[in-house]
């Protein structure tokens, strides 16, 4: 181990080209962080399968180590700087300019930290029912993929990590899942694989077609591709955007590509569900932000109304279908469809508040839905069911459990003071600026969220417990310790999201400025009190139809008013 790190450091050339900041750790932070769980997976693979405790320990330790390095990154992160930090790179395939460039900005920082927190917690929260060796190996490998995706700054490496996440989750669902696990796993795999095929084609064609402006050499370096993507024609870049978007829409998931999610969630083991909802869905929205908005500003503007519409549909539709579910895991899965609809909507609002809210919503959804799945795991441990019809009066026999569930539920509903509200509000307020009627419609989602969660809560927790539920024990100390960090984060981020927002904002601003510069359009913003022109059109000419809120003429007027 001790000789490995310096050797490894030699391979990776550490740069912080955008900030000039040096980490001062003596080793490249991000590569080591990504490799921690990989090392864990390898060690687990080498261990004999009878040593269950050692295997579990290795899994937990390696993910805790990655999480700790994520926290180090958070602590050392320069808040005001918009660019990538902790950048390190190693050449992989020189002729194609494929490099292991890893770096994070304010957007990926918290997704990395979230991954680092959620994986160890999910490992501690549940145990596999059989074959622990494979289970822990796949889980740690899954973490490698997730961390890699958020750190990668090379299109090809991004794709590689994106794909790495597939197999472990497929195995986790297919082998350690419940009921119709094979069906669910196969559906998940085929669905996402199909999306990835589109993405591979898109990435490759992008690299080839964009090379013309970069001295004729192919490069997968994200920064270089961003610089040269202007060479693509409008139609070409829109087509490539669609190719990327299909993969991200499946992953997020965006209506109508969502039906794999309820099946995957329902059948997955607890840790699988936690990380699937908490981290893997963000691969989609993160991809949209980093590889959609940044790479294809014009196409993003062009498709923004479509994406916002799909986001709004997801919010309402996901909520309604969630309300009709009889299985708690399916219910939370559909609620994820609704919550991720907010993320998509905020991103394509293309306002600073909307995009920032979207990134925050990604983190918050990871925490609350992760916590919900952990709690459902606790419930399953006690009752061996997720069916609402079989649960009743749990609050009477397990008041602490019910109390924790209530807090998480209220956060998920979006009650202010808890984390879920902040992101949702920013998304909606940001969307209102650009596409106001969609924001008005999507806000109905907050009513539906209360409907399905409170209804489910009433059926499972209220009432007089019947025979089967009368002996359900309350949370033990171990369980309390596992869930406590998430509850603390739920409250903290609801009351004081400033540290997070302060770090997200410069990065988001940078993306939006890039969109503005490369499209030559002024993005909408609030009017800052200078011009209180009519909100609802009354013949002054400044009003514009809702779906085309990005009409350049009208936006230029706002911009003038701002100055």
């Amino acid at each position: 181990m001790s000789t490995l790190v310096p050797a490894f450091a030699a391979v990776f050339e550490q740069t912080s080209e955008h900030t000039g900041e040096v980490t001062g750790l003596g080793f490249p932070l991000l590569p080591v962080m990504v490799l921690c769980p990989l090392l864990g997976a390898i060690v687990i693979a080498l261990l004999p399968k009878e040593r269950v405790d050692v295997i579990r320990l290795v899994a937990v330790l390696s993910s805790v180590a990655a999480g700790a390095l994520g926290i180090v990154a958070l602590a050392q992160f320069e808040p005001g700087a918009p660019g990538f930090q902790f950048v390190s790179s190693a050449t992989w395939i020189e002729s194609l300019d494929i490099k292991f460039i890893l770096g994070i900005d304010g957007i990926s920082l918290f997704l990395v930290v979230l991954t680092g927190i959620l994986f160890p917690i999910s490992l501690l929260a549940s145990k596999p029912e059989h074959d622990p060796k494979g289970y822990y190996a796949w889980l740690t490998l899954l973490e490698v993929g997730c961390l890699g995706v958020f750190c990668a700054l090379d299109l090809f490496v991004f794709f590689l990590f994106f794909e790495i996440t597939l197999v472990p989750l497929y195995m986790l669902i297919g082998k350690w899942g419940h009921g119709r696990r094979v069906y669910a796993a196969t559906k998940f795999f085929v669905f996402t694989m199909l999306g990835s095929a589109f993405m591979l084609v898109a990435i490759v064609s992008l690299a080839i077609l964009a090379k013309a402006g970069d001295g004729g050499t192919i490069s997968f370096d994200l920064q270089k591709v961003i610089a040269s993507q202007a060479n693509l024609g409008t139609v070409t870049s829109r087509l490539i955007f669609v190719g990327m978007a299909v993969a991200f829409m499946v992953k997020t998931p965006v209506f109508p590509f969502h039906t794999w999610l309820p099946d995957a969630h329902t059948e997955a083991p607890t840790a699988g569900s936690v990380n699937l909802a908490g981290i893997l869905l963000k691969l989609g929205t993160y991809g949209f932000l980093r590889y959609g908005l940044q790479l294809f500003p014009e196409a993003s503007l062009y498709f923004a109304p479509t994406m916002i519409t799909l986001g709004a549909i997801g919010i309402i539709y996901g909520g309604i279908v969630a309300a009709m579910q009889q299985n708690l895991k399916r219910l939370v899965a559909y609620s994820s469809v609704a919550h991720m609809g907010f993320c998509v909507m905020g991103l394509f609002a293309l306002t600073i508040e909307g995009v920032e809210g979207s990134v925050l919503q990604m983190i918050n959804h990871g925490i609350t839905t992760g916590a919900l799945f952990i709690l459902l795991g606790f419930l399953y441990r006690r009752r061996h069911t997720y069916e609402l019809a079989e649960l009743r009066g749990i609050q009477k026999v397990a008041p602490v459990f019910a109390g924790v569930f209530t807090v998480v539920m209220l956060a998920s509903i979006g009650v202010p003071g808890l984390n879920g509200f902040v992101g949702e509000f920013l998304v909606l307020a940001g969307t209102f600026i650009a596409h106001r009627w969609w924001a008005v419609v999507a806000a109905i989602g907050v009513i539906i969220a209360a409907l399905y969660l409170l209804w489910a809560y009433q059926r499972a927790f209220h009432g007089e417990p019947d025979e089967a539920n009368r002996t359900v024990p309350d949370l033990d100390w171990g369980e309390k310790l596992v869930i406590a960090p998430l509850v603390a984060l739920i409250v903290f981020l609801g009351v004081y999201p400033k540290p997070v927002l302060d770090r997200i904002e410069p990065a988001v601003r940078r993306v939006l400025e890039h969109v503005e510069v490369s499209t030559g359009r002024e993005l909408p913003s609030s009017r800052k009190g200078a011009d209180l022109a009519p909100l609802v059109g009354d013949g002054h000419g400044a009003s514009h139809p809702p779906a085309t809120g990005l009409d350049p003429g009208a936006e230029a007027e706002h911009a003038e008013a701002d100055r």
Binding site: E163, Y170, M171, M324, G417
Partner: protein, 667 residues
């Protein structure tokens, strides 16, 4: 002294945190005393702040604690705006809340979740104070949702009963419809002003385009309609009576439900800048709610249901005032109403406590002989709400009707008619509960049920919805056992319960002094806040006198009618004054429930079916057709999972390698 304002919400918050973590260990009754102490301390601090505020320029002071949400142009702080409006609200909230905390120590005695009750109660007071003290709309919204959540917890406090759990859920979801309006109003406000701070927004509201102002005002009103239980969203409040009675007094009468009135008063510059029909809408909804709820209150049997509809009706008066530009009158009535309605609710709680849980007035009677303090205070509060000169309700209600008459005589007439109805149904309640002969015991119950007619029984069996006539959560059928038998002797409650009653009764008498015609203390105090929207009347002494005479005559008329029907009349006559249409609350709730359970639910089911069959069907169809998933799945179940996955991985690697080599050639 004003800079200690943060302590006002901080004390109940501290109480909440202590009780969350140590409530079980603190136990009964200490948990109750701790909670009461915190809220009482909060009141004392509020009084100190009040005296400090007198020295502040324009009686306004703003304290910023920290930045809450900084994102782009949106910059929201956690800060408190202490101005005449929020000060007045803070004083009466902390005061009434202290008394109700004290009362609850006696009322909740013996409940196994005694500390939990006070945990919620302290959290509620904290949220309510944040609501009124917040210096921006978003912080108000935080309090707004906080009180909603506490209301949910407390309505379903006895959650093992299905009806209580449903009532809590119904309250939260109905309120959320209003919250949607509030949220949209905030989006629009942020869009138009780039900020949500009250001082900036209300300061610039005059320059707002009319359409923008109208949109914001209407959306805020949607929020207020939800929280303050106005037509069409009032249905949650009567059901909310499922909660413990102190909750009904504090949350569903005195404080939370008045939040909508507070919000509209706070936003009066926006309403003033909006189109004229906004004021008419608000006044119309208020007047209609006042009237409809009063008619329903005439025919209810559950003592708390009468008071609940009465609250809805009185809130209607407040919105009638707001719509008529009488913001001061609205706040005036809010405060006097808090006194007498809290007194009435706590009194009804004392009655229910004394009757060991009985809530059906048909099974009470003559209680003034057994519960003299409860009866005495209740009678005082009754006269106050009935508008008898010179009690507090007389002054505040009269002021509203004067302004309403000024806006339109039609609104004024509705105000007067509702005043008669109010005097009538409150007198009915008092006569049934405290006068006449005792009617408890098995024999009496059977008689009541028989006279009650087959109608209610029939529906109880055919429609087991929660809105069917329920007494104590049970349909009133002949099989129903009375709570107490004929030999039962109701008892007076202990001092922790009677002391708040006495104080509140006293205030119901003298509460009017804060804004008597001629003195206008409250009007002068609130003047800086409501200057933009307040309409002005300069009534002559004769004008006031005529109004006073009319309304006193009407109040006495209502009381007199009730006297002849409910004290002197026969049971048959009485039954004639309880038409089923009113007893069933105009069938509104039943229709709504039928719709939600019928077409509404079917729509949801249809969408769910669409997802399962159409969307997922296409997915599976495509999958089966192109990939032969079905066949493979069968093989996989035979243990080939790993090999299949391996194949896929190999496939991916091969494709990747192929693409890479192709590209190497290209480059």
């Amino acid at each position: 002294m004003v800079d200690i304002i943060w302590l006002v919400p901080a004390l109940p918050l501290l109480g909440f945190l202590l009780l969350v973590f140590f409530g079980k260990r603190i136990g009964e009754p200490l948990a109750g005393w701790l909670a009461t102490l915190m809220v009482g301390g909060s009141f004392v601090v509020a009084v100190a702040v009040f005296f400090g505020l007198l020295d502040q320029p324009e009686h306004t002071y703003e304290q910023v604690l920290f930045t809450w949400i900084p994102a782009g142009d949106l910059h929201v702080e956690v800060g408190f705006l202490v101005d005449p409006l929020s000060m007045a609200m803070t004083l009466f909230i902390t005061f009434v809340a202290s008394l109700i905390h004290l009362y609850s120590i006696g009322y909740m005695h013996g409940d196994e979740r005694f500390p939990t009750f006070f945990t919620y109660l302290n959290l509620f007071v904290f949220s309510m104070l944040v609501l009124v003290l917040g210096n921006n709309m978003l912080l108000t919204f935080l309090g707004w949702e906080g009180v909603g959540a506490c209301s949910y917890f407390l309505i379903s406090f006895w959650f093992t009963k299905e009806a209580n759990a449903s009532a809590g859920k119904k309250a939260f979801i109905t309120n959320r419809i209003g919250d949607w309006g509030f949220m949209v109003a905030m989006f629009a406000t942020f869009f138009a002003f780039g900020t949500l701070d009250y001082t900036k927004v209300m300061g610039q509201a005059g320059g707002l385009a009319k359409t923008t102002a109208t949109f914001i005002a209407l959306m805020l009103f949607v929020g207020a309609v939800g929280k303050s239980a106005q037509i069409p969203l009032y249905v949650w409040l009567p059901d909310a009576m499922a909660g413990p009675t102190p909750v009904s007094a504090l949350i569903h009468a005195a404080t939370m439900v008045t939040a909508g009135v507070y919000l509209m008063t706070r936003a009066n510059p926006i309403i003033a800048a909006s189109d004229g029909y906004v004021g008419w809408t608000i006044a119309g909804v208020g007047a209609a709610t006042a009237f409809v709820a009063a008619t329903i209150g005439m025919a209810q049997h559950d003592i708390k249901k009468v008071l609940a509809y009465s609250t809805v009706s009185q809130l209607g008066y407040m919105f009638l005032a707001v719509g008529s530009g009488a913001y001061v009158a609205a706040i005036f009535h809010m405060i006097t109403h808090a006194f007498f309605k809290a007194c009435l609710f706590l009194g009804s709680g004392s009655v229910i406590h004394g009757m060991v849980g009985e809530q059906d007035m048909r099974l009470m009677g003559a209680l003034r002989k057994y519960m003299p303090i409860t009866a005495g205070t209740f009678i005082v509060a009754w006269l106050a709400i009935a508008g008898v000169f010179p009690l507090s309700g007389f002054w505040s209600k009269d002021e509203i009707i004067e302004f309403a008459w000024h806006k339109s005589p039609v609104l004024g007439v509705i105000g007067f008619v509702t005043a008669v109805l109010t005097a009538y149904y409150m007198s009915r309640l008092v006569f049934l509960t405290f006068y006449g002969e005792p009617r408890w015991g098995e024999h009496a119950v059977r008689e009541v049920v028989q006279v009650g007619g087959a109608g209610s029984e029939e529906e109880a069996t055919t429609e087991p919805t929660e809105s069917v006539e329920l007494v104590n959560g049970l349909p009133l059928t002949s099989e129903r056992k009375p709570v107490v038998d004929a030999h039962f002797h109701p008892h007076e409650s202990g001092w922790t319960m009677t002391l708040p009653l006495v104080v509140l009764a006293l205030l119901s008498v003298i509460g009017g002094v804060i804004n008597l015609p001629g003195s206008h203390l409250l009007a002068n105090w609130l003047e800086p806040v409501v200057a933009a929207g307040e309409s002005h009347l300069e009534p002559t002494a004769t004008y006031i006198l005529i109004f006073s005479v009319i309304s006193t005559a009407l109040a006495l008329g209502g009381i007199g009618l009730a006297y002849f029907v409910w004290l002197k009349g026969s049971r048959q006559l009485q039954r004639g004054f309880e038409p089923v249409f009113l007893e069933k609350a105009w069938y509104y709730d039943l229709t709504l429930a039928a719709f939600m359970g019928g077409p509404g639910r079917r729509l949801f089911e249809a969408i769910s079916w669409f997802d399962r069959t159409v969307i997922d069907g296409i997915v599976n169809g495509v999958g089966a057709a192109t990939l032969g998933v079905g066949k493979k799945v069968r093989r996989l179940q035979n243990g080939y999972v790993r090999s299949y996955a391996l194949l896929v991985v190999i496939g991916v690697v091969l494709i990747t390698a192929f693409v890479l080599t192709r590209m190497l050639q290209l480059s």
